[in-house]
Symmetry: C7
Amino acid sequence: MIKIASRPFDFLDKAIGKQILVHLKEGKDVRGKLEAFDQHMNLAISDATELEDGEKKQKIGQVILRGDNIFYIST
Amino acid sequence: MIKIASRPFDFLDKAIGKQILVHLKEGKDVRGKLEAFDQHMNLAISDATELEDGEKKQKIGQVILRGDNIFYIST
Amino acid sequence: MIKIASRPFDFLDKAIGKQILVHLKEGKDVRGKLEAFDQHMNLAISDATELEDGEKKQKIGQVILRGDNIFYIST
Amino acid sequence: MIKIASRPFDFLDKAIGKQILVHLKEGKDVRGKLEAFDQHMNLAISDATELEDGEKKQKIGQVILRGDNIFYIST
Amino acid sequence: MIKIASRPFDFLDKAIGKQILVHLKEGKDVRGKLEAFDQHMNLAISDATELEDGEKKQKIGQVILRGDNIFYIST
Amino acid sequence: MIKIASRPFDFLDKAIGKQILVHLKEGKDVRGKLEAFDQHMNLAISDATELEDGEKKQKIGQVILRGDNIFYIST
Amino acid sequence: MIKIASRPFDFLDKAIGKQILVHLKEGKDVRGKLEAFDQHMNLAISDATELEDGEKKQKIGQVILRGDNIFYIST
């Protein structure tokens, strides 16, 4: 109904293969390389690291991250 | 069913390319330039800054912000 | 299936152009003039003021308010 | 698939024009006259009063109440 | 896709006209006679009593109870 | 779109008539015999017992348990 | 609308038969072998162990895990 030049998912598409930071609920962050995403904003991330309150908590390797709990994705 | 002259998303459309402030759950705010949005109120914002309790917390660059966690968008 | 004389959204339609008070989750209120709404109860409000615990917190100008977080709208 | 004699919304339909008490999340109650409802359990209530922990807090006039936050409606 | 002999709602159907206990979020319980239900698990209950932490809190008469906040229904 | 040999609900189907433990939100558990389930993961359980923090709290007989609040079902 | 080479669920598909770690809300983790999944990210896991704050809490055998409460799945 509304014509728009681009959409938020186009920006996600451009981030494929690049480092992203995903800011989640409950003060969690996940950093890593964006491998894939879908229309629910579910993400596949490789070489991922979990951070809590900005500090490195643990390496979590390859993860499938559920879109529901995302605040924002910094690309 | 209800005829209305304009819709909330029309106001969002007019804000494309302009500075906005997004007020999120858990006392978070994100400021930056609105690049794109979709029907779920997902936003793409450039030159974004995260604020916590009104104070600048960190620069977060370009972000894709999930519509679910938005309280309001000040345009 | 159920015949009803009017619907809640008809009452919202009558409030277009008038001052409303929106009572939100987390003890927030937004006052201002209703400009537009949609079927998700998303609202566009102009000359908006945010209140916290009933006291004026800040002017927020024109806002797009997400329907999800609304408790009630006082018209 | 299941044949039932009546449905919960029929009971709401019978309450149109009558005093109801709406018990909401976060310990809030709203009393007033039911004017309208829809299939999402959104309600329009006139001469409404908000109560907190059972005590009268403030008169809120005519309200559109979002169905999402309702625990139960006492008719 | 999966053939099943009966469904949870069949058990609810058998409880029509009988006393039930509804266990809700936030430690609330409602007891009363099941009058009606729909596919969202919304319930109409008559002669209802609200209990908090297992103790009788107040009589609430006839209620329409929203399915969203139900943990379980004991029939 | 993705071909998979079996689905989680097939495992639930095999548990019909058997003892299960349902781990719910807010630290609640329900044990009993699985009688029925539907596509929303709503369950009908007979001879059910509620446990809180792993300890038996009360017998709740036959229950219809809402799928929304389930963390996992141990079969 | 957007062409993408792979999707997050493809990564989940490759993890069938392998050990995964599921990070859930409320600080819970479940480890075990992925047996099946569906489009809601519901999972069937065998030889599962529940962990709380990273420490082994209890063996929970075969579980059906609801997709709603998942933060991420480490494969």
